[in-house]
């Protein structure tokens, strides 16, 4: 192996002390100099395994080489052949479990900062002003409806409109972007960036209709009368609760509600924006994924004196991205590992004031391969809290499955779709993303969208199901 700097070029960040007082983005991104320096760490492997680690198979060594050569314009063009949302993926992909995990450098050193370079090249393009659009394709005359404007839907729309199909995206909320706008906070993914990427898909030619609830405003069957094919990317829906006593007291939120109020409705700007949110002093977040980290860090920024993560396993099993765990630790989030809430206590006005927890120990690995947490008898203790956010996942939204006859669903209400094609049990209807897999990641949803778009194009051209 040639001589190579062992560590990633650090990415500049707002200091923890400063950033917990604002909602601005934490990581500031590479300068051109830093990006080129990092790009030169790439070994340009003859058989690049990093590509196989990427759900949308970006030509990673290719775009990194172009950055190293300072040909940024060509680098972003190459990137966008495979990924229409690089500014988003560069920020929220779990690279350590994907491309960077299999990077050859990672065997001895830190892997190449692929995510940081992806983000750099996307931001570089945005700074140049107008985004380059690919040449307009000739129209096929086929019409496609995409339900949901999250990562899966945007990918399908972007891919199919580039092939000349007419696209309409239907979004139930008043803003496009799905989880990217209601779920992921401003400090991790600025909404202006999501808007930029949505605008790009719109400029490619996709029509976007907001505040339109498929399943209610129109059913899938009605869409099928107007459109040749339908893609369902409605995402995760009903938030899970733990079903423990007192869980509906005032001050106890689902992560979906807490984050939707803050992100989509901009409750952190109340009273300039009308939507309120409880600004707790002692916030407890249940769960250990990215959504839990986002909630705990939002709590801090809303003025909490203490913001805690309550997680039933240990630090090693936390499913969140490492970068977000580190950011949370830097900011002073308190982690209560091996801890499980068992009930809540209220004051006389219905507000939560205490949570009772039990300590856990790790037993043998369970179906997920992680060690199963087991309660330690008699270890119960109480924590004073005034805000609780339950971030333990969610089940698929029932609105579309319950109003679409002939659409097969699984045990948990998820839509069943073929992994290789995105085809559902209903002719002309495809699905992908969280509505199929249950809550997962942005890039996996995009990967599913990519697969579905390919087989939708085939179906539209041949009519064969």
């Amino acid at each position: 192996m040639p001589k190579v700097r062992p560590k990633k070029t650090p990415i500049p960040k707002q200091s923890p002390k400063k950033r917990v007082k604002n909602f601005n983005e934490v990581a500031l991104g590479y300068s051109e100099k830093q990006a080129v320096k990092e790009a030169k760490r790439c070994l340009q492997c003859k058989k690049p395994v990093c590509i196989s680690g990427c759900p949308v198979e970006i030509d990673i060594p290719g775009f990194i080489k172009l950055i190293a050569e300072k040909d940024f314009k060509e680098a972003i063009r190459l990137m966008k052949e495979k990924n229409v949302l690089p500014a988003i993926c560069g920020r929220v992909c779990p690279q350590e479990d994907q491309c960077e995990k299999v990077c050859v450098l990672a065997e001895k050193f830190e892997p190449v900062g692929i995510g940081r370079l992806e983000r750099f090249i996307a931001d570089w393009e945005a700074e140049q002003g107008e985004m380059a659009l690919p040449p307009k394709p000739s129209l096929t005359g086929k019409k496609v409806a995409v339900v949901g404007s999250g990562p899966a839907g945007l990918t399908v729309a972007g891919d199919l409109v580039k092939l000349g199909h007419s696209l309409t995206i239907f979004e139930a909320l008043h803003k496009t972007g799905g989880v990217l706008v209601y779920g992921i906070p401003e400090f991790r993914l600025p909404k202006a960036i999501v808007q930029r990427e949505v605008d790009y898909v719109h400029k490619l030619g996709a029509e976007i209709v907001t505040s339109f609830v498929v399943g209610k405003t129109k059913t899938v069957d009605e869409l099928l009368k107007e459109y040749d094919a339908v893609f369902l990317g409605t995402g995760a829906g009903l938030p899970w609760f733990m079903q423990i006593p007192g869980e509906n007291y005032n001050g106890i939120y689902s992560a979906n509600e807490y984050l939707t109020r803050s992100n989509l409705m901009k409750a952190y700007l109340f009273p300039k924006y009308d939507t309120p949110i409880v600004r707790g002093k002692r916030v407890a977040v249940i769960g250990g994924g990215n959504v839990a980290m986002d909630s705990a860090r939002t709590g801090l920024r809303l003025g909490a004196e203490k913001s805690m993560i309550i997680y039933r396993r240990s630090r090693k099993e936390l499913p969140a991205r490492i970068e977000e765990i580190e950011n949370a630790e830097e900011e002073g989030i308190v982690f209560e590992f091996l801890t499980l809430p068992v009930r809540y206590y209220t004051d006389d006005k219905g507000w939560v004031k205490e949570m009772e927890c039990i300590r856990m120990k790790l037993g043998k690995p369970d179906a997920s391969g992680r060690r199963r947490p087991l309660p330690i008898k008699g270890s119960n203790f109480k924590i004073p809290v005034d805000t609780v956010v339950v971030a333990i996942g969610q089940s698929p939204n029932p609105l579309v499955p319950s109003t679409t006859p002939g659409l097969e669903t699984g045990k948990h209400g998820n839509i069943i779709a073929d992994e290789q094609t995105g085809k559902t049990s209903k002719k002309g209807v495809f699905a992908g993303g969280d509505i199929v897999t249950g809550a997962a990641t942005v890039i996996l949803a995009m990967g599913a969208g990519r697969i579905a778009a390919k087989s939708m194009d085939e179906y539209l051209n041949t009519g064969e199901w």
Partner: protein, 272 residues
């Protein structure tokens, strides 16, 4: 779309809006609601659909907080940022025999389409509507047209019988009238009181709940209520629930979560 075509003042601080929304109108069934966002900085609030006409939906709004107060100032021609729906499960309409429809205050507006549908399907419909005083009573003529019998109560006795809607309901039961089903919409205390009146007589009773909501499509869980000891989401599982199973105390507590912020919003709004 979403344009206010007509605005009427029905009572002090109670306004009726006809909003152009052809897609929603086409789909609306009795008991369903829309989520409205009036401007870019606005919150999302649920409003039950009181009626539909050709391409418009009818909403009746009582000015109780900043957003409804703001809505009260909007004039004909204004285009709302968003009107989303129709949401929630429609009320189950069935020929049951004798049905009593109870509407209290602003709740008379949403009970109207249900009353009409219950009548049209062949029920004998007895309606009881009530308000604090005569000037606050809305939809009297409309309710009369779709009811076989209409009883009116006011808290202060300025019109109809002095007392509450439950007094009238109790009276009907005491007279030995055969009642197969009761549907009640109004303030939480009223729906709770109706539930307590019919419970000992085992009269099947449904209420339409109006908790705080955000998305209204089953995504956030703000509107969760407890029914029969189970957590349910009003926006997708309701809004109609078995009155004898609803935890009304919890509902009342949860409606007060943002009282302080609502006061602050209102103070700022009044200053403008």
């Amino acid at each position: 779309m979403n344009r206010i075509l007509k605005k009427l003042e029905l009572a002090p601080e109670v306004k009726l809006f006809e909003i152009n929304s052809p897609l929603i109108t086409r789909k609306t069934l009795p008991g369903q609601f829309v989520v409205v966002r009036i401007c870019e900085e606005g919150e999302r609030i649920p409003l039950t659909i009181a009626d539909t006409k050709e391409d418009t939906i009818v909403l009746v709004v009582q000015e109780v907080g900043k957003t409804t107060k703001h809505m009260g100032t909007l004039e004909e021609g204004y285009e709302l940022s968003d009107v989303i729906g129709p949401l929630g499960k429609p009320t189950h309409i069935e020929k049951l025999g004798t049905v009593v429809c109870v509407g209290g205050g602003i709740g008379i507006a949403p009970i109207y389409p249900i009353t009409k549908a219950m009548k049209n399907i062949g029920n004998k419909v007895i309606s009881i509507i009530g308000a604090r005083s005569k000037d606050l009573l809305i939809f009297e003529e409309k309710m009369k047209k779709v009811s076989d019998e209409l009883y009116i109560t006011t808290d202060d006795g300025s019109y109809g019988r002095k007392g509450f809607v439950t007094d009238e309901l109790n009276g009907l039961i005491d007279e030995g009238r055969n009642i197969d089903f009761v549907m009640a919409i109004g303030p939480v205390v009223m729906m709770y009181a109706v539930a307590e009146v019919t419970r000992p007589h085992n009269i099947n009773t449904m209420v339409s709940l109006n908790p705080i909501m955000v998305d209204g499509t089953g995504m956030c869980g703000a509107c969760r209520v407890e029914v029969g000891g189970k957590t349910r989401f009003t926006c997708v599982d309701g809004p109609d629930f078995d009155a004898h199973q609803v935890d009304f105390k919890l509902l009342m507590d949860r409606q007060r979560i943002y009282l302080k912020q609502e006061e602050e919003s209102m103070r700022l709004f009044k200053r403008h």
